[in-house]
Symmetry: C2
Subunit: 453 residues, 2 copies
C-alpha cells in the first residue's frame, strides 16, 4: 500500500458496504477492509448499527476487531458491546493494552464485567486490569496503562535491550525505559535514542536521566494534561504514594482528554445538558436541549412576574419598558465575559494565582471603565433616539452602569466559588447563571427607576 | 535531584528573586536556577517584566535561555525579544529547532527578522528557517520542524544507527526514522523499537512499515490535529506536493494547537474580541470586552426603537411587554444550542457529513418537539400566573414556538455558511449572531401580536 493511499472513505463505499452486509457478501467486506487501519474502519462502523457492525467485525482479525471497538466513542462502544458475549469480549481484551481493556470493562454493567474478567486467560493481564479498575476513571490511575518497559538501575544496556525484546509484543510504543531500584521505586528514565547510541556494556546507572517529571495515581486528568503540555512529554510515568512505578500515561490518551474537556465546556456554555452529537436521535437531541430552555423559560416567566408588579409604572412611562432588553442583554454579556476570563485562567492554573480580592478588584476596575463608556453612550442615544425624557435617560444609564458593575462582580465570583466547591467553573457561563444575572439586572433597573424617577 | 522534586514555584521564591534582581544578587539567581527545567523558569519569568527577565536570562546558559524564550506565550515572547539585540537572538536560535526558531522570527518586525537571520552562523539552519518562514503559520508547513532522522531505503540498520548518532545533537526526540528513496520521496518509517531489536545487518527495506499516515505542507493545523488524534501519532512526517519528505510535526506542537483553538473558541463564544489573559492590563482587558458590549448595546437600542413603534399597543395591553425578555432569551438560547451542535460536528469533520438540507430538517424536527413543549408550558403559565388574558397567552405561545423554529433554523444555518466562507463557525455562538437572533425574536413577537391580538 502506498504511503499516502489512505482508505477511501466515500459515501459510495458506505452504500456498497451496506449492500454487502444485507446480501451476506463476506468476500467484499474482507477484501475491501484488508490492511485498512482500524481507526478508519471504526469511522465507517460509527455509521452503522451495532448488529451490522458485529457482522463486519466478526469477519476481521480478532486484533483488528479489538482495536476497532477500542477506538469507538464511549456511547457507540457501549451499544456495540451489547452484541458480543463475554467470551468474545475477553478475546478482544487479549489484544488490547490494560488501559483500553479497563475502559471497555467500565462500559459494561457490573455483572457482565465480572463475567468477562473471569474469562480472560492471561492472568497477569487480569491482575493489571483489576488494579486499573480500582482507580477513578478521570485520575492518572484511571488513564494509565500497565504496559511499559522498566529496567533496574543495576542492569546494563544489553539487559535492558533483552527486556525490550521480551516485552516487544506487549508494549506497542516504547518512548523511554523507566529506571527503578530494587524496590521498584522510580528513579528516572533512559530514552530509546540513548539506548541505541550507548555501548552495550554500559550500566543503566551511568546513562539514565534522573530529573524527570512523573505524576501520582490520584492526580486529576486535567493536572496530568497540564504537566504533559508544560514539559512537552509524549509519555509520563505514574507512581503511587510510595514513589513506586505503577504505570505510564501516553500523550494520545491526554489528547483525547483535552479534546473531550473542550467539548464538555462548549456544551456547558451553550446550555446542552447531555453529551450529544449531531447524529444522535431526534429524541436525545431534543431532550438534551430542554433543561436549559425550561430554566430560561422559568426565568422569563419570573421576569414577566416582576414586570407585572410595575404595571402602573410601565403604563405611565411606557418608554421604560423599551429598555428592558438592553439592560438584561448587557448584564448577561458582561457576566459571560467576566466568568469566561476566570474560567480560562483557572484552566491554565499556575501557582501564582491572584487572590480572590485582587481578582474582584481588577474586574471592578475594568467594569468601571466599560460601564462609564456604555453608560455615556446609552445616556445620549436613549435621550436622542428613543424618548426625549432626560429623567428616563438618567435612570437607564445609571441602571446600565450598576448592572455592568454587578454582573462583573457575579461573573468573576461565581466560577471561583464553583471551582472551590469542586464544580466545573465553565458552568458559570452556562444557562442557570446567565438567567440569574438577567433577573438581577431587571431587578436593579426597576429599583433604580422606582427610586430615581 | 530527586525524580519528584519539582522546582519550588512559590510566592516566597518570586519575592526573593525580585529582591535578588533589584539588589544585583547574581549568585542567588544562578544557584537557585541551576538544573531547573526551562519550562519552570519560563513560568517564573512570565511574572516579571521584560527587563528583569533579561537580567535573569543573561545569567543562565544560552541553551536554557533559548528554551525559556521559546516556551513563552506569543505576547510575552514578543515583548521579551525587544530586550535582546539581533546577535543575542541569533545565538538563541543556534540552540533551537527550526520550527521554534521560525516561531520566534515570526514575532519580530520584518527588519529585525532579516538582521537576526543574517547573523545565524549555521548555514543549514538558515536555509531551513527560510524555508519554514515561507509557509502559513497555521499550516502543516508552518508547524513542522526540519530536524528529523531520514534513512535511505537501501541502507542497513547499522547505517541508520550511524545517521542517528550523527544527528543526535540536532534531533531532540526521535520517535521513528523516516524512510525515503533516492529522490527523497517518503516511503515509510522504522520505529526506534524496531531498530533496537533488528539485526545490525538487516536492510531497512526489509523492516520498514510502508503503511503510515503523512500530511502535506499546505494542510490546515486543525486537519493535522485530527489526523494525529485519529491514528494516535506522536509525530507525523510532512511531504510536499511531490511526496518528498520535507519535515516532521511532533505531538507537543499539536497539543498546543488544540489548546489554543479551544481557548479561541471560548473567547469567541463569550464575546471577547482579543486574545486576553486575566493578567493583562486594565486597558487591554476593558478594550477586549467593549466591542461586543457595544454591539449588544446597539441591539438593545434597536430593540427599544422597535418597541417604541408599538408604544400604543403596550399602553393598551401593558402585559405584552412583560413577555419580551422571555421571547428574546428563548430565541438566544435556542440559537446558541443549535449552532453549538453544528460547530462541534464541524470540528470533528468526517467524510460522512450530512448535507445541509438533512441538517436543517433535523434541526427543525428537534425544534418542533421543543417548541411544542415550551409553547404548552408558557401558554398555561402565562395565562395562570401573569395575566388571565387568553388572547395574550395565545400570542405569547405562538410567538415562542415561531421563535424556537426560527432560531433553530438560523442557529443551524449560520455556522454552516460561515464555515463555507472560511470564517470560524464558532463565531455563530458569539455576540453578533446572538444579538441578531434577539432582534429577530422581538420582531416576530410584535408582528404576531399585531396580527393575532
Amino acid at each position: 500500500m502506498d504511503v499516502n493511499a489512505q482508505f477511501e472513505l466515500s459515501k459510495e463505499y458506505l452504500e456498497k458496504l451496506k449492500n454487502a452486509i444485507d446480501g451476506d457478501d463476506k468476500d467484499f467486506i474482507k477484501t475491501t477492509m484488508d490492511g485498512v487501519n482500524h481507526a478508519d474502519i471504526s469511522s465507517v462502523l460509527e455509521e452503522f448499527n451495532s448488529a451490522d457492525s458485529k457482522f463486519v467485525i466478526d469477519l476481521l482479525d480478532v486484533e483488528v476487531g479489538a482495536n476497532i471497538i477500542s477506538d469507538l466513542d464511549d456511547d457507540t462502544q457501549k451499544s456495540f458491546l451489547k452484541e458480543f458475549d463475554s467470551v468474545e469480549i475477553a478475546k478482544f481484551i487479549d489484544y488490547l493494552d490494560s488501559d483500553d481493556s479497563a475502559d471497555i470493562l467500565n462500559e459494561l454493567p457490573l455483572k457482565a464485567r465480572q463475567e468477562v474478567i473471569s474469562k480472560i486467560e492471561n492472568q497477569e493481564k487480569t491482575a493489571n486490569i483489576l488494579e486499573l479498575l480500582r482507580y477513578e476513571e478521570d485520575s492518572a490511575g484511571g488513564l494509565m496503562a500497565k504496559e511499559m518497559i522498566r529496567a533496574n538501575i543495576n542492569w546494563t544496556v544489553v539487559q535492558c535491550i533483552e527486556e525490550i525484546r521480551r516485552q516487544a509484543g506487549n508494549v506497542q510504543k516504547i518512548y523511554s525505559v523507566y529506571v527503578v531500584d530494587n524496590k521498584d521505586k522510580l528513579l528516572g528514565r533512559v530514552s530509546l535514542k540513548r539506548i541505541i547510541l550507548a555501548d552495550d556494556n554500559k550500566k543503566i546507572a551511568d546513562i539514565y536521566e534522573d530529573d524527570i517529571a512523573s505524576v501520582e495515581t490520584f492526580m486529576d486528568e486535567e493536572e496530568v494534561a497540564s504537566i504533559m503540555r508544560k514539559y512537552d512529554l509524549e509519555a509520563v510515568p505514574v507512581v503511587n504514594v510510595h514513589g513506586k512505578l505503577v504505570g505510564r500515561i501516553t500523550i494520545d490518551d491526554i489528547v483525547d482528554v483535552i479534546t473531550e474537556l473542550a467539548e464538555q465546556e462548549r456544551q456547558l456554555m451553550s446550555g446542552i445538558s447531555e453529551d450529544v452529537e449531531e447524529d444522535d436521535s431526534l429524541w436525545v437531541s431534543a431532550r438534551a436541549r430542554l433543561p436549559w430552555l425550561v430554566i430560561g423559560l422559568a426565568g422569563g416567566i419570573l421576569a414577566a412576574k416582576v414586570m407585572g408588579f410595575f404595571e402602573e409604572a410601565i403604563k405611565s412611562v411606557t418608554a421604560m419598558a423599551f429598555f428592558v432588553p438592553l439592560i438584561m442583554a448587557t448584564g448577561g454579556n458582561v457576566g459571560i465575559q467576566s466568568s469566561s476570563i476566570i474560567v480560562q485562567s483557572l484552566a491554565n492554573k499556575s501557582v501564582f494565582e491572584e487572590n480572590t480580592f485582587k481578582r474582584l478588584l481588577k474586574a471592578l476596575l475594568v467594569a468601571i471603565i466599560n460601564g462609564a463608556v456604555l453608560g455615556a453612550v446609552v445616556f445620549i442615544t436613549s435621550y436622542l433616539l428613543i424618548d426625549n425624557d432626560i429623567r428616563l435617560a438618567i435612570v437607564v444609564s445609571t441602571s446600565l452602569v450598576s448592572v455592568v458593575l454587578l454582573a462583573s462582580f457575579t461573573g468573576t465570583l461565581t466560577p471561583l466559588v464553583l471551582d472551590k466547591m469542586g464544580i466545573n467553573p465553565a458552568l458559570a457561563s452556562g444557562p442557570f447563571i446567565t438567567t440569574a444575572n438577567d433577573l438581577l439586572g431587571l431587578g436593579v433597573y426597576f429599583i433604580i427607576f422606582y427610586v430615581l424617577y
